[in-house]
């Protein structure tokens, strides 16, 4: 393994010296996201293996190329899970891609995001240096939180080679309920329930249906079902998977997919076909919106919008204030001074 890592360092050093672009890639399951995919591929697929896993420590450490399905199977065999319920978006999705993209699934609002569960990373920066930030313990405030900064950085700050993650027990029971509510009613209900001690692990509103997933001890789930009512959904797991993986028809047939991350109590956006999650904090709009309009609407809703899939990426996929753009450019240079790792993936200027 040391040889493999040394070879990665060497490849990066050479690219830095020659100013050639490199594109870090696992299985390419997140290739649809972002702007330019330029440069020679730096393939992480052979960097596999669960390095350390102790269920009673609630920590797993695995190499970046380890398939996400293998990570999840190993955890499931011990009755544990990645609580942020990451989407795979491809059968060979890697753990490295999962963390580099930082995407979280339906359970995020209740349990936390990908970044919340990252404890440490080993990485190689843009000049080929091997670095280790964080560790294998949750409570660790030594130095700046660079392992969490790497989460969601899309390979633009360095090559992640190994990740330590906090893991949690699987819930004893899950139950999905369905309520017939319009968007305004759904927003009010989701937020009202989120303010009560109820074991809700996911919410999703689409057209006139609000789906709610209860999770926890059987007695708790039963008691919550009694309190909330609603119709039980027999194939709940399948429904949530279709939302997580975006195989649900609304996503699958979308001309473009915009991701609005906004204040959960924001009134309906009125932009067309939509799937709403995370108590209203996450609204997927399956329409080919005018980017400046989308960015403006998100800003008014105290959040931001991302052109997630398809559409016209000419004006970028996300909007940054001048001050934040300057910080991003400088941070990029701090880790990748020659700008050879995924330059322009998130924004044309870094």
């Amino acid at each position: 393994m040391r040889d493999v890592l040394e070879k990665f360092s060497e490849t990066i050093r050479q690219a830095a010296a020659e100013h050639t672009q490199l594109r870090i890639r696992g299985s390419g399951s997140k290739d649809f996201y972002g702007l330019a995919l330029i440069g020679d591929v730096l393939d992480t697929c052979t960097l596999t293996g669960i390095v350390d896993y102790e269920p009673t420590e609630l920590v797993m450490t695995a190499r970046a190329g380890t398939r996400l399905r293998d990570v999840e199977k190993t955890l499931a065999d011990a009755g544990q899970m990645l609580a942020f319920e990451p989407p795979h978006f491809g059968p060979e999705a890697t753990l490295g891609g999962c963390i580099a993209s930082g995407f979280s699934g339906p359970r995020r609002a209740a349990a936390g995001s990908a970044r919340d569960f990252v404890l440490g990373v080993r990485m190689i920066n843009g000049i080929g240096e091997a670095l280790h930030f964080g560790g294998q313990v949750m409570k660790n405030v030594a130095g700046y939180d660079l392992s969490r900064l790497m989460t969601g950085s899309f390979g633009t700050l360095g090559l992640i080679t190994e990740i330590s993650l906090k893991v949690l027990p699987q819930p004893e029971q899950e139950l999905t309920l369905r309520f017939e509510l319009d968007e305004t009613q759904a927003i009010a209900s989701m937020n009202a329930w989120a303010a009560k001690p109820l074991p809700v692990s996911a919410t999703c509103h689409h057209e006139r249906a609000l789906h709610v997933r209860l999770a926890g001890a059987a007695v708790a789930v039963g008691a919550a079902h009694k309190k909330l009512g609603g119709e039980t959904v027999p194939d709940g797991a399948q429904f949530w998977q279709s939302i997580r993986e975006q195989s649900h028809p609304t996503f699958a047939h979308a001309p473009a997919l915009w991701r609005f991350s906004i204040k959960p109590t924001s009134p309906p956006l009125g932009l067309g076909k939509q799937v709403m999650e995370w108590n209203g904090s996450l609204r997927w709009v399956a329409e080919d919106l005018d980017p400046s309009r989308a960015f403006a609407i998100a800003h008014r809703a105290d959040g931001h919008a991302t052109l997630f899939r398809g559409g016209n990426k000419r004006h970028g996929i996300q909007q940054f204030s001048a001050g934040l753009l300057a910080v991003h450019k400088k941070l990029k240079r701090a880790f990748d001074p020659h700008g050879i790792l995924g330059f322009g993936r998130i924004h044309a200027d870094f």
Binding site: V137, M138, D145, R148, S153, A220, A224
Partner: protein, 499 residues
Amino acid sequence: MGMPELLSSEMLQPQIAHAELVAQLTSVLPPASLLHEREDLKPFECDGMTAYQRLPLMVALPETEDQVREVLRICYRGRVPVVFRGAGTGLSGGALPYAYGLLLVMAKMKHIVHIDALARSARVQPGVRNAAISEATSPYGLYYAPDPSSQIACSIGGNVAENSGGVHCLKYGLTVHNILKLRFVTIQGELLEIGSDGLDAPGYDLLALITGSEGMLGVVTEITVKLLPKPEKAQVVLAAFDDIAKAAQAVADVIGAGIIPAGLEMMDKKATAAVEQFVHAGYPLDAAAILLCESDGTAEEVSDEIERIRQVMNTAGATEVRTSRDESERLKFWAGRKAAFPAVGRILPDYYCMDGTIPKKHLPYVLKRIDELSEQFHLQCANVFHAGDGNLHPLIMFDANEGNQNERAEAYGAAILELCVEVGGTITGEHGVGLEKINQMCVQFNTGELKAFHAVKAVFDEHGLLNPGKAVPTLQRCAEFGAMHVHRGQENFPELPRF
């Protein structure tokens, strides 16, 4: 106690005359908000790490974000170093003033700006006390979860700077997991809005970068915190063990049973004895270790979980298992643990509270080594442990007036921190590096990593004016410390780990 001294390479001097600085700052601050007479500076000479004391050149107490920005612009132009301070409860010297700089105190910015009960968030100024947030949101059935032990006094701005935890962070996370947005001002006086009212923000995770950055990158002028529904019920189990290893195993068993308790704390025999004398909570004095394991949630969740916790404790060989019967008994069970530090302070005039994190499985080994080190340094140490997440607080007891106990306590503490790193842990779980652990940063990180930290710092503060000499050591310091370290002899300290 020997404060890590500034190296000559770390000295920064303002490029503006004292009188001119006073005039400029006075012009942007309300009356009586700039202190520069010695007797007025004295109350600010230290934070919760009282062994380290230093007077700043002057102290500013702004009341608004605009005043903060103006003050920092003046300091940037005049190359005046700046140290930030919240409530001054920090335990690592993070708010210790810089002798040639300004101490910028945020305590007057203490308003709760807005509570949005339906969206479950609150906008608060940095000087608001941690506990004051939950007090204000209680009428809505909501609370702010991170509960550092100093919560009745510590400020939320300080919590963000240190990424504070507390007993309940095993289940509810650290500060970084419980905030949505920051208004952040850089040394140049620029305002950045970090995060959003949604659950994420575009680009890099700057919220995670800034949380826990110990005042090195800028200052927070407003925080939007997440609020959670107050649990319907909470109950705690107290379990006594005749052997530390059994107690450590019980902790593993709780997690192994798929339980994530709201709190899971351990106290060793010395800590229990100290606490019982002080608080009379009824703790079993013959136990080698006691565990406090709390469950919170709906009434059904709690009764189910408490029953499972009891089973685990009994199966693990607890000599005694008690369950709190009502809220006042629950608080009584906790009273001892919460009073651990002052209780220990009654035994000897001084104590040195350490803060390291280790993988839980190494607890028996680490405690054994701490005992051995106790013999070596001829000082007593009581241990309190956030068992659920491996965060250890050894309390080294000593008398600063007796011989060289000061130096021995410090050396004992340094040895414990290095022991934490040796077993794959970290030198600080929640108190921060500050000044106290700056030398140990040279043990935990290599040159490339420290350079990465410096490069990140330079993005925000290229002149190094913010909190100089804290949190992240210079390479010069590590070179000097490394040489000193080897010189002391390998037989006194564990092998330096290789990275």
